[in-house]
Symmetry: C2
Subunit: 475 residues, 2 copies
């Protein structure tokens, strides 16, 4: 196998090579941008999903599944929403050889599938909050260049939809979602930005949108999800009303929280290196790979010991793979590094005789672990690996931002720029032009570069209402 | 709530009422036959899926996911297959406002999605066997009356597809699949028939099909899945070839194994009773419900003890629900019986004072369990419940069959008939007419009614090649 392209200078080539060489996705399917989840890629996805499920269910959300096909009549009910999606949906127009009476949209997202039914489910304040989520595939007729996990036409998607009694409760749900995502991101060792998008860039139909952005270096960012506050923008058209404690009939306030398979792309993009993929423990298809190192003098002792090690770790609940194949140990090391396994255990004649194993993390930390109490040692080594991975990612994250005090600094910037913005749309568009990308918006909470609040707007020099904003180049 | 219809005399009304009253599926979605998986129904489905995953992965199968949309060009490659599905597929013909260059089929099943990629994955005998499965939704433009879980247009579906070196290996895979299903069915306490369908009733493109049929009483049967041997019927048109050990290029032999959400319908139909749903432990959304029984003299002791019980059981890994609502205990008992929870624990003043709980299984067995070692006692009570459920289902299964020695006995038969058949298609069709249903086929292994082999065909009286066959009315 050839060496991977350089990540810093040829990011996309490097990314595509990692996905392909590690066998995470097969893009040779007969429809562009609809890729095959391979056994290895599917394992990563399943682990990723289980972290999402764990964290969202901890907030009292319940899993549901709504149909994939949406009648045109329901799809068209919220005007801004339909305008936002009209040009990028797939249409089902025929069943068998007959045209359908009502054309069906393949869901691009599920507001218009769920909300007519929410109107039936919600009757009284006792039915609220209604917090439900689903993990399904969504579909976009994408016309731009497609990339595995980053821009595809069939998208593995997590979406929570909620109904709340009032705006304060909806705002609290937004905060709860951001906190849930922070816990997910911690499991993925993935630093992120929560950024309130400018009004002209919010989700079609939202009152406001908070994007979850991951800086990828070189001034690039990747939006992997978002949390939206809808107020009554959908509950109005869909008639989702409840009887309040005082007997009055009110519209619910709604929020949504979405995450796409881009999250897996971000994990690969942020953690990967010149040797290939690097998976945090929670996502790794295998947490540990065990490799026997044969030796002419030792008979099958290394193989037997490696088998014993793998069995013990599996019994301890770890995802472990024993690579007993005929390849040279060096070739196996190379292979499993490319595939991003957090911890490699080598068992040779020396180790087997001394009742130890040699442990090497995917970040290169080598140690000798005793067979006595090996399970706990391996778990500790994995925790140490995750910490080191998080630290490396955090250092990269910190170096991905810098202040800018003039529009000139935005041009060809190799970092995401933090700048003063007065909040006016006109100035926002000037910033976007300068950065040749997006005004990402106003960060929630502390901005990535700690600095005193800016005195003036980077464009107009006004001093009223100025806040920190971020400008970068969304991938 | 009104009483449920009688299961024996009004089976379908009873079934629909159970699904609706227990809130397992919501059919008020805007497309007929595309139903909403409610929170409660989704929990059952998730548990069902995890049994399928556990058992199929124990046989070395790996999870993958192929796209939902199949190009018409690939779909049309295997002639019999396309003829079998042509009239019942949904067609995607437009992306945004433009007609697509190549129309796309929403997968009715995934042979034509997977096999062009299998042709890329399989190169040498070392790549075999290729055993992969996916759990996805499939789509059928169903024109008959739809019923939740039994006949729907968007179908939750398990499908394994395999490539084998030769016909013997493929035949062995069929046997392995049947054994895996037997283990699943054991977890679901669900007796079943594996029946080799007559040639004219096999899957479109199959060499032979073994159906998995569940008798529902009254002579009715429900096919919930099947295992197919394809030989080279698909590998030929899709060019799935490998280099054999001797260097020759050979076509792979293929098999598939499919199970649909009908499995959940069958579990409801078989185990349910006049009080509502009855879930075997493996599928039950909640295995245990804990209900405090308030008493004026006891203060909040019942509530606190019930909370303690629920917490201990949850910590023990059980799916437990504490119903602390304001309704009367009797109303709660009624509700959770309708919902099919295997075990109810009642905690009143008497129990709390004596440090016991009253346990009542969904089949009505009542006992008193000590708080000391409660976890183990509850697990034992659940195991006892599963055994009793399996015994009840087996007794029903046994009574669902009877021998027939003349065509007259088939008419309006209230049981599935076991009869002698010479194997000729002409006689088969006569049997189908008489039973006003289907010649289900020839059972694999022992027939349901143990009896000496029949001497003559029930139709023509011939004696050569006669075997046991089954005739019933597929739902």
């Amino acid at each position: 196998m050839a060496e991977l392209p350089d990540k810093r200078t040829q990011f996309i080539d490097w990314y595509l090579a990692v996905v392909e060489e590690a066998g995470l996705s097969d893009k040779r399917y007969g429809v562009k941008g609809m890729n095959v989840w391979t056994p290895y890629g599917f394992r990563a996805r399943r682990n990723l999903d289980s972290v999402m499920v764990r964290e969202i269910e901890a907030t009292g959300s319940q899993a549901v599944e709504f149909p994939a096909l949406i009648p045109e009549t329901e799809f068209a009910k919220e005007k801004e929403h339909i305008q936002g999606f009209d040009s990028e949906v797939y249409w089902v127009t025929k069943g068998g050889s007959s045209p359908l009476d009502v054309n069906l949209v393949l869901r691009p997202t599920s507001e218009t599938a769920m909300y007519p039914v929410f109107a039936l489910w919600v009757r009284s304040h006792q039915d609220l909050p209604l917090n439900v989520y689903q993990i399904v595939n969504t579909f976009r007729y994408e016309t731009k260049t497609t990339r595995p996990f980053l821009r595809v036409r069939e998208i593995h998607f997590f979406e929570e939809h909620t109904c709340q009694v009032d705006e304060a409760a909806a705002t609290a749900r937004v905060a709860s979602n951001l906190a849930a995502f922070a816990r997910m991101a911690e499991a993925f060792a993935l630093p992120f930005l929560a950024v309130r998008r400018p009004d002209w860039d919010k989700f079609a139909g939202a009152y406001y949108s908070i994007a979850l952005d991951i800086p990828l270096g070189g001034g690039r960012t990747l939006q992997i999800g978002s949390v939206h506050h809808y107020r009554e923008n959908f509950s109005g058209p869909y008639g989702i009303r409840y009887e309040a404690v005082d007997g009055s009939s009110r519209l619910v306030q709604q929020t949504t929280f979405g995450l796409s398979e881009r999250l897996l792309g971000a994990i690969l993009a942020v953690h990967g290196d010149r040797k290939g993929a690097v998976f945090p423990r929670a996502v790794a298809p295998f947490e540990v790979v065990v490799i026997p190192v044969p030796s002419s003098s030792a008979g099958d002792l290394p193989q037997r010991t490696a088998g014993e090690v793998a069995e013990r770790l599996a019994r301890h609940g770890l995802r472990v793979h024993l690579d007993a194949g005929p390849e040279r140990p060096g070739a196996k090391y190379y292979h499993w590094e490319l595939l991003g396994v957090p911890l490699r255990l080598e068992v040779g004649a020396r180790e087997a005789a001394a009742r130890t194993v040699t442990a090497v993390t995917r970040l290169g930390l080598k140690s000798s672990l005793p067979m006595d109490g090996l399970e706990e040692q391996v778990v500790a080594a994995l925790a140490g690996f995750d910490r080191a991975l998080a630290e490396r990612a955090l250092a990269e994250f910190r170096s991905a931002f810098a202040l800018a005090t003039s529009l000139d600094e935005l041009r060809d910037s190799a970092v995401v720029r933090q700048l003063g913005w007065c909040g006016r749309e006109e100035c926002g568009h000037r910033i976007e032009e300068a950065v040749d990308g997006g005004l990402l918006g106003v960060p929630e909470g502390k901005p990535p570069v700690e600095a005193p609040l800016p005195g003036t707007c980077i464009v107009c020099g006004r001093t009223d209402g100025v806040r920190w904003a971020l400008a970068g180049r969304p991938l």
